[in-house]
């Protein structure tokens, strides 16, 4: 049966949960404590439950049996059922990630639509303030998860081994593990609806997150699990890029998307632990009666904000660095020109990685932290505009004098540049202490980060999806629908979020259910724009579904691109390359006569032995 692994995972997960929770009850009874307190039971039962789920869904068969000296069991499945199992093929895992996160993106987008209906007019419209806070928090955390994992987990998994000429990731089973940690995250977040919700936003600032409904516990467990998944993913990417590059794939010949994933993975690997630590401290405060953030007993609420932003500011670069890489990967192929200032760009990426660790407190200018920290953190923050400027130099230098083919991926990449520019310029106003005193926690900030994350990262994600769609599915998407999707989304995106800058200046703070009546007309305009923006995804989804089912067969290299993934058939065979490719030149050397990036399949046949994986 196709869903047998998932069913077994659920059963083993439930058993693990009962075992863990039951053990906790037993221990509490023995210690003479009140035995049936739901929050500690859920927390303690969750971790064995998670282990049970992972083992049940497939980690037992392909992995854990080894520890007990048993032979591992691997089943070769090549039809659609492989998408529902613990598969180690990086291309399958990439598609699993991508589909999961597009679905989550649409779900969180639906929550945004509900929020905009509520904000159509001042006063209560369709929901209560409590439900609004929960929906708003859900929108935030799911979108953050999408932003962190959709490009790295989805497109990164699919494309990085292909781009560097590898057969798979360095640790294929850890790769599968990091994907199968995601379904529990989604389930936990959705089940907060049945546990009173959580109303502390995705930032979960204590003390609020220590006194609200039990849904907060599910949120914390979900985000800790998600963090674990992204740490494992980052570890895998770093090891893969360090060790599995094809012969001749030197650091100076590495495609820029691979560089961006490499840089972002450093941040994921390290900073994510701070998020896990912060959320764990909240759990300890809530359930073990500890006093990290409880001011009444001597704790420090500001400590959480420091720990949280030590992760969450670098996290925006986990989101945006792969987006830079993706846009800059696409620009040379569609401009038929070399990537401009390539080494400077790579240096810029690492400049961003370095600076991202020393800017976190710019989120705390109004938090009451000591005054002497304001100047240094403002300075480091504004220095980030220097490496980011190199991204723009590279992008503009690449398209200047090129032969631009405005296909859908290229349009999205250019849209990314425009949106991210607005996001970047408005970021200066937030980084500057005097202006931030007014703008902090207003819709100006909401507009700013939607321009960087949605206008930047999500636009790049769509650019990448359209770019690699023929490679992933073996079929071509519909170009007219693709362009329609771009223009629809680009225009309504801008009309939705530009007015928010004005709203912020004129006294609308963020995360509110109600606002001064004078702001009603602008909010109505934003809401209508937002509904149009939401409807643009109908075009996207129908294009994807119809093209995957019935689109024309795609050629191996529909974009005449030079990088390695386009030198194998679409979709790529199970082991990617017939033999390790020989890399002999730069990936983006368009216009140089007789320049070659790589020799693929010189020793064997071309792609004949590839298994047809289109199901």
């Amino acid at each position: 049966m196709a869903f047998a692994p998932i069913l077994r995972g659920l059963v083993w997960g439930a058993l693990g949960f009962l075992l863990g929770g039951g053990g906790a009850v037993l221990v509490r009874l023995l210690l003479g404590l009140p035995a049936f307190q739901p929050e500690p039971l859920i927390t303690i039962g969750y971790f064995p439950g998670l282990l049970g789920w992972l083992l049940g869904v497939g980690a037992w068969d392909v992995w854990a049996r080894e520890w007990f000296g048993l032979p591992v069991r691997r089943e070769a499945v090549y039809d659609w059922r492989r998408y529902f199992r613990f598969t180690t093929d990086h291309k399958v895992i990439g598609v699993q990630y991508l589909v999961t996160f597009v679905v989550l993106f649409l779900l969180a987008g639906f929550f945004a639509m509900l929020m905009r209906i509520e904000l159509m007019a001042p006063g209560p419209t369709i929901m209560s303030a409590g439900l609004y806070n929960h929906i708003m928090s859900m929108h935030g955390i799911i979108m953050i998860a999408v932003a962190v994992a959709a490009i790295i987990g989805g497109l990164g998994n699919f494309a990085v081994p292909l781009l560097i000429g590898a057969e798979d990731m360095a640790f294929p089973r850890i790769n599968a593990l990091s994907y199968w940690l995601i379904p529990p995250v989604a389930v936990l977040l959705v089940s907060t609806f049945f546990a009173g919700g959580f109303d502390s936003g995705w930032t979960a600032y204590p003390p609020l997150s220590e006194v609200n409904a039990p849904g907060q516990v599910l949120f914390n467990l979900a985000v800790i699990t998600f963090g674990f998944s992204s740490i494992l993913g980052a570890l895998n990417f770093l090891a893969t890029i360090l060790r599995l590059r094809a012969p001749g794939m030197t650091w100076r010949r590495l495609p820029i998307f691979v560089w961006s994933i490499f840089a972002a993975s450093f941040i994921s690997l390290t900073a994510t632990q701070f998020l896990a630590a912060g959320l764990l401290m909240i759990l300890l405060d809530r359930e073990a009666g500890m006093t990290f953030f409880n001011a009444a007993r001597g704790g420090a609420p500001l400590l959480y904000q420091h720990i949280f932003w030590f992760y969450s500011h670098p996290a925006v670069y986990i989101m945006i660095l792969p987006a830079f890489g993706l846009a800059l990967e696409i620009l040379p192929h569609f401009s038929r020109k070399p990537l401009y200032a390539y080494p400077w760009l790579v240096a810029g990426f690492f400049g961003i990685v370095f600076l991202s660790f020393i800017v976190w407190a710019h989120h705390l200018f109004t938090s009451g932290m000591p005054d002497y920290l304001h100047g240094p953190f403002m300075a480091t923050t504004e220095l980030i505009s220097i490496p980011t400027g190199l991204v723009f130099l590279s992008a503009l230098g690449t398209i200047w004098m090129g032969r631009l083919r405005l296909k859908t991926p290229m349009l999205f990449a250019l849209g990314f540049l425009f949106n991210f520019l607005i996001g970047g310029v408005t970021g200066i106003f937030n980084a500057d202490v005097p202006t931030d005193l007014h703008l902090q926690d207003t819709y100006f900030v909401v507009g700013h980060f939607h321009f960087t994350i949605m206008g930047g990262m999500i636009f790049a994600l769509f650019a990448g999806i359209y770019y690699w769609f023929p490679k992933i599915t073996g079929r071509m998407y519909n170009e007219t629908l693709g362009k329609l999707h771009f223009w629809w989304m680009f225009l309504t995106f801008n009309t939705t979020f530009i007015p928010m800058f004005w709203l912020g200046l004129f006294g609308m703070n963020r995360r509110i259910f109600d606002y001064p009546p004078a702001l009603g007309s602008v909010n109505r305009f934003i809401s209508i724009s937002a509904f149009l923006l939401g409807s643009s995804f109908v075009v996207f989804v129908s294009n994807m579904v119809l093209s995957w089912a019935r689109g024309p067969q795609a050629a191996a290299n529909p974009w005449q691109a030079r990088t390695l993934e386009w030198q194998v058939p679409s979709p790529p065979p199970v082991h990617n390359f017939p033999a390790p490719p020989q890399v002999v030149g730069h990936p983006y050397d368009y216009g140089f006569t007789n320049s070659v990036h790589a020799l693929v399949g010189v020793s064997g046949g071309s792609g004949e032995q590839g298994v047809d994986t289109d199901g």
Partner: protein
């Protein structure tokens, strides 16, 4: 559906080593977060109630277990099965002894600085998180011991030994930083 052997590519020792070190870097940041919280919440002051003798004792035990772990790894690299098993068993026992020591510490800590005080919060979280790592290390060593008794490791198959013992040393490195953070720092 037939069961087939699927080739896992490139999964050899050097890559695994890099992966393990990356994992240590990541875990290091977790402990960095917890250790820096100590300074934020409690500054540089040191409670007088700490049992310094016990602290020094369990530190010594853990360092000694690192030595036995090192001897186990060295002996298997030279193919000495008997010495490998003896030293692995010694490491397991010392690790368990360390956990007993932490349990004694906790019993005292409940009296002097329970979890709802500032120092108690720090103390229980740091020793608890480290103790969890020690416990998982002991479990891994037990796996190693039983596989070793069946002669599964030799000069050619040493990665499981190397991996587990590296993890054990890493847990020791973490304690090297936690010990002064909890017991020694003063203003």
């Amino acid at each position: 559906m037939q069961t087939v052997r699927v080739h896992v590519p490139y999964d050899h020792t050097h890559t695994r080593r890099i992966g393990l070190w990356l994992f240590f870097i990541s875990e290091g940041f977790l402990f960095l977060a917890l250790i820096s919280s100590r300074y934020y919440l409690f500054g540089l002051s040191r409670p007088e109630e700490l049992n310094q003798a016990l602290g020094l004792l369990i530190t010594t035990i853990l360092l000694l277990s690192s030595l036995t772990a090192y001897r186990a790894e060295t002996s298997i690299l030279h193919g000495d099965q008997g010495m490998f098993l003896r030293n692995t068993l010694a490491t397991i026992l010392l690790g368990s002894l360390f956990l007993v020591g932490v349990a004694l510490e906790w019993a005292e800590a409940f009296r002097f600085f329970p979890p709802h005080t500032r120092f108690g919060t720090i103390f229980f979280t740091l020793t608890g998180m480290h103790g969890f790592h020690v416990l998982s290390g002991v479990v891994l060593l037990v796996f190693l011991y039983f596989h070793g008794r069946r002669g599964r490791f030799g000069v050619t198959n040493t990665w499981p030994v190397e991996g587990v013992i590296k993890y054990w040393h890493f847990v020791d490195v973490v304690w090297v930083f936690i010990y002064p953070t909890l017991y020694l720092v003063s203003s």
